[in-house]
């Protein structure tokens, strides 16, 4: 009885203290263009998940702040962060010098290359498709993406069509209106899963793009040190040799390692099922390690 009472008082104090700490935490708005699998995804019930969003949630937990995820069109994210209407942009943004003029980037967290997707049996390859040897002499990419920029600059002799939304480019490719679609490799893999009989990856262009999270110029909320520190705590370190290419090193068995395993490789449906089975660990228990381990374990089932 007495023990029970003491336990209750301790529990009460714990709730008060934790409550106080939680209430004192800052909430930052994270802007993301959802969906863009596997970085940004939505469950059937409308809950947001995906690599970027779970990484942001994990960083928020280990660094002691709260986040509020807002679904915002890709082209609008940078203006939204610039104007202070959102604090962080997390949407598979490639770090470019052009973008860095108006916003600040975190450490790189992902190395991506551009995949060229073509129709199966079209007889094209990565070179001929981009040289305009296909029937429509055109390729597609999503507006504002680095794939679109790359195509405009490098694919000579072929018309580059810009799409508002990546899946519509894929639809046009399947229907024969364009000969190829240029898009980041992970997202391309996810579209291939939708049309395994009709589409294939002709090849990869090694653009060596680093994804980064972005904040307003000058980092007014002091978020970059927290994000960078959070990335390190989750198990990602960046080796930056003078004059050489940056290298992303993942600690084996870390949260980062598990998140990579869960999000890159399995199909979207497998990822969603695994996420639904593990989400409480992240959203309720705030157990970053446990969540990532469970997620990786669930997808491998």
């Amino acid at each position: 009885m007495r023990k029970g009472l003491i336990g209750l008082i301790v529990l009460g104090f714990a709730v008060l203290v934790i409550g106080g700490v939680v209430a004192a935490q800052e909430t930052y708005v994270v802007a993301s263009d959802i969906p863009w699998a596997p970085f940004e995804m939505v469950t059937a019930n409308g809950q947001f998940f995906g690599f970027d969003l779970d990484v942001m949630r994990c960083i928020a937990i280990v660094e002691g702040f709260d986040i509020d995820i807002k679904n915002i069109a890709f082209d609008s994210i940078i203006p939204t962060v610039e104007s202070g209407k959102a604090d962080i942009g997390a949407s598979g943004f490639t770090i470019t010098a052009e973008r860095a003029k108006s916003i600040d980037f975190s450490q790189p967290y992902y190395l991506s290359n551009q995949a060229v997707v073509i129709r199966k049996g079209s007889g094209l390859n990565i070179v001929s498709a981009l040289a305009g040897k296909g029937p429509t002499q055109s390729v597609g990419a999503q507006n504002g993406t680095t794939g679109f920029g790359w195509a405009e600059e490098n694919a000579i002799g072929v018309t580059v069509k810009g799409y508002e939304f990546y899946p519509t480019a894929i639809l046009d490719l399947v229907n024969g209106r364009i000969d190829a679609v240029i898009q980041d490799e992970p997202a391309s893999q996810s579209s291939l899963a939708a049309y395994p009989d009709k589409l294939e990856i002709a090849g990869i262009i090694n653009t060596n793009e680093y994804f980064g999270f972005l904040v307003a110029k000058g980092d007014p909320n002091g978020l970059l040190p927290k994000i960078n520190d959070g990335l390190a705590k989750l198990g990602l370190s960046v080796i930056d040799p003078a004059g050489g290419m940056k290298e992303l090193v993942v600690t084996p068995g870390s949260v980062w390692d598990n998140l990579l395993k869960a999000y890159f490789g399995p199909t979207n449906d497998e990822i969603e099922a695994a996420w639904l089975a593990s989400k409480d660990l992240l959203l309720v228990d705030k157990d970053v390690e446990g969540f990532a381990a469970k997620l990786a374990q669930e997808v491998s089932k």
Binding site: A31, I34, P35, W36, A37, M41, V42, A44, G46, K70, N71, I72, A73, D75, S76, P79, T80, S83, G84, K85, F165, P167, T168, I170, L171, S191, A194, Y195, N268
Partner: protein, 233 residues
């Protein structure tokens, strides 16, 4: 999606995803009514100023209508949402969209109402004045009640038009129905067509209900044998 079974399966999947679309269309409907209210209020004032406001106020009203009818809706949305934050003023997305699309609609509505005001024969004003009514009184009791009735047909056009404009609000971060449709499309690449057909049906239902309501209002407010709107009368 191949064959009849694929189609049926697709329709079932879209049916299951309806909550996603309904969450979106709810935002379109809220925005539609908010912007129509702003448009009606401001539009009526602008039309009255343009017709009765004299040279200076009339010119200002005409310039207002010119500006807001001449700028693309998307540009207005950007200006109203991102513009004020340059001066440290934070306008929430819904308010920005309501004002941008509402002012734009008010410019169109003002022209509908102006046409209606000018369609009332000038003799009515003269008759009212000869009976001892003041100018303002004649406008309020004689001209406006008739002009509002006359405007209803034009408004039903404006209703359908702005209902569709609400789909542009995604640029300021409102997750309206077209953006919600993308969620379905990303989950099921092959159901893009069906998702857009579902959106089209939602809009047809919305515009039909609106036009039906306005038509009923028009019939209800009709005064038999009176007014210029009686066809063949």
């Amino acid at each position: 999606m191949t064959g009849k079974e694929g189609l049926i399966e697709g329709i079932i999947t879209i049916g299951r995803s309806m909550p996603i679309l309904l969450r979106g269309i709810a935002i379109n409907i809220e925005l539609l009514f908010a912007l129509l209210a702003v448009g009606l209020l401001v539009g009526t004032v602008v039309a009255l100023l343009q017709v009765y406001g004299g040279r200076v106020l009339g010119t200002i009203a005409a310039a207002y209508a010119w500006v807001f009818r001449g700028i693309p809706a998307m540009v207005l949305l950007f200006l109203f949402y991102f513009g004020p934050s340059q001066f440290g003023l934070d306008v929430p997305p819904f308010l920005a969209a309501t004002l941008a699309l509402g002012f734009r609609s008010s410019a169109y509505q003002s022209q509908i109402f102006r046409g209606a005001l000018q369609a009332i024969p000038h003799e009515q004003m003269m008759a009212a004045r000869s009976l001892g009514m003041s100018r303002v009184r004649a406008i309020v009791s004689i001209i406006i009640p008739q002009a509002l009735r006359l405007s209803l047909a034009g408004w039903s056009n404006e209703f359908s038009s702005v209902a569709k404009d609400t789909t542009l609000a995604y640029v300021v971060g409102l997750n309206e129905v077209l953006r919600q449709a993308r969620i379905i499309q990303d989950r099921h690449y092959d159901l893009a067509m069906l998702a857009y057909i579902a959106v089209a049906l939602l809009f047809l239902i919305l515009t039909y209900s609106g036009n039906f309501g306005l038509g009923a209002l028009e019939r209800r407010l009709r005064i038999p044998g009176l007014g210029v709107h009686e066809r063949g009368g």
